[in-house]
Symmetry: C2
Subunit: 280 residues, 2 copies
């Protein structure tokens, strides 16, 4: 496995892969890898000739300096994990490579980014769309893999690819959970044992939404009230949003009569966690 830190070296590598007419599967990550990332790598490994994993903690998608500073970093351990999954290349550029002095071009999106996490984390999704565009242009994947846990991000990236006519197949894979249901997230490491227990309210609220919907409750407000009550009962919680949105447009729905997503963002102590479940 090669570890590449320079954009020009990555481009040379991609050129030779393309020259051999091999396909590239790409898993972009911010490091602090867990089993969620591993599941993406395994699918990418299965479905492509070459597997490229990027590890880059992108500063422009953090609206909160404290969150950026506290984001777990563990490059050596991450590289071991990627190697174990038989990746061909780790691309781990530094910020001087990705955002050299004078950088002034951004990819922005409206509509899909005006709601949910986009509304509460100003600039976040512009950071995502910009870095994803750059990484896609450098790595030139045939298929790129994202986790459903970041549901809004997956819709934003699918729209980015469609609107800017990138010929990339965006694969969104199911959220990987701990045994007790907590969605894996690099930020889970920040939870103390009591917070970790409290965090279970998130998945409980989603399961409640799913079961109500399965029992034919279509009124979003009614479901959201139940979810809210579950989350409020848990200790150390503060809600950013509890929403039921159209799965494609991300617009709030009042009556669920198309594919929808129940999505929540909740602070557990000082850690903000997100999760979602599809209602269809």
């Amino acid at each position: 496995m090669e570890v590449i830190t320079k954009i020009s070296e990555m481009q040379t590598m991609v050129f030779s892969i393309k020259d051999r007419k091999e396909s590239i599967g790409f898993v972009p990550t911010m490091g602090a890898l867990h089993e969620g990332h591993v599941s993406l790598m395994r699918s990418a490994r299965d479905e492509n000739d070459e597997l490229v994993v990027s590890i880059y903690l992108n500063p422009t998608q953090f609206d909160n300096k404290e969150d950026f500073d506290n984001y777990p970093g563990q490059l050596d351990k991450d590289i071991e994990i990627v190697e174990r999954e038989n990746a061909d290349v780790v691309f781990a550029p530094c910020t001087d490579e990705m955002y050299p002095e004078g950088f002034c071009t951004y990819v922005t999106q409206d509509k899909l980014t005006d709601t949910m996490c986009g509304r509460l984390r100003p600039g976040h999704f512009n950071g995502v769309t910009t870095i994803v565009t750059k990484l896609f242009n450098i790595v030139k994947p045939d298929k790129a893999y994202f986790g459903q846990k970041d549901y809004q991000q997956s819709v934003v990236v699918e729209k980015l690819v469609a609107d800017l006519n990138m010929e990339i197949d965006v694969k969104v894979l199911p959220t990987v959970r701990d045994e007790d249901g907590l969605a894996l997230s690099s930020r889970n490491k920040r939870l103390n044992p009591e917070e970790r227990r409290s965090a279970l309210c998130i998945y409980s609220s989603l399961l409640k939404a799913k079961s109500m919907f399965a029992s034919n409750v279509k009124d979003a407000k009614e479901i959201i009230e139940e979810m809210t009550s579950i989350i409020k009962k848990a200790k150390h919680t503060r809600t950013d949003y509890i929403s039921i949105v159209n799965a494609h447009t991300l617009e709030d729905v009042s009556l669920i009569n198309e594919k929808a997503v129940a999505a929540v963002a909740v602070w557990i102590g000082n850690t903000r966690l997100i999760d979602n479940i599809i209602l269809e």
Copy 2:
């Protein structure tokens, strides 16, 4: 020569060109082709295996509806011109193809676009960077050709390509002029004979800048004063800007001690014309 109007057909064509490992030269245009475009096509024809010319009047780069509505359209004649230059493909999509309903992703740039035409035509360069990104992603050129007449645009596109890590060689070719010096522009057609004569003040002012600079005048203000006086003397003129800027950053310079550009935007009657000359 093939005339393609569908993005998917263009992508199929590009795929087969790439499969043959041939190089693509690309001349993006808004139609109303003149000898300036022809000079770009000839260079692109010489330097690449395949020549693709796009003809698309991009609505998102017009800040002024009247300008958009009055922009000359002559698709059949344009296609003849392109065919005469031995292009392989004309890509002429319609707006439903390029901006389907729900389109919401834009490429934006600051700094370089805050000055000159960017300051006076709000949104113009975001329209340019967005459509150029889309066309580059569809056509996947090795080399793309732009005219120096739109100097700010050429710098913006070079920066776009660098910042978003597109591997495209941006070629900027000299402005083509009528015998009397007027820079060719699709908008020249709108000038009546008297305006056409007045418009010569633009190139006269640029030649004055060049000769003053050659005579060792380095003070931008002094040169701009002379240029202003030449343009003011001509009939039917109204100045948008007369600037001397750093050739790379496009920032106004007071003392010319690096490569600079004298650039003007002048209304002749109801037609806005731009032109520039390099000072080095």
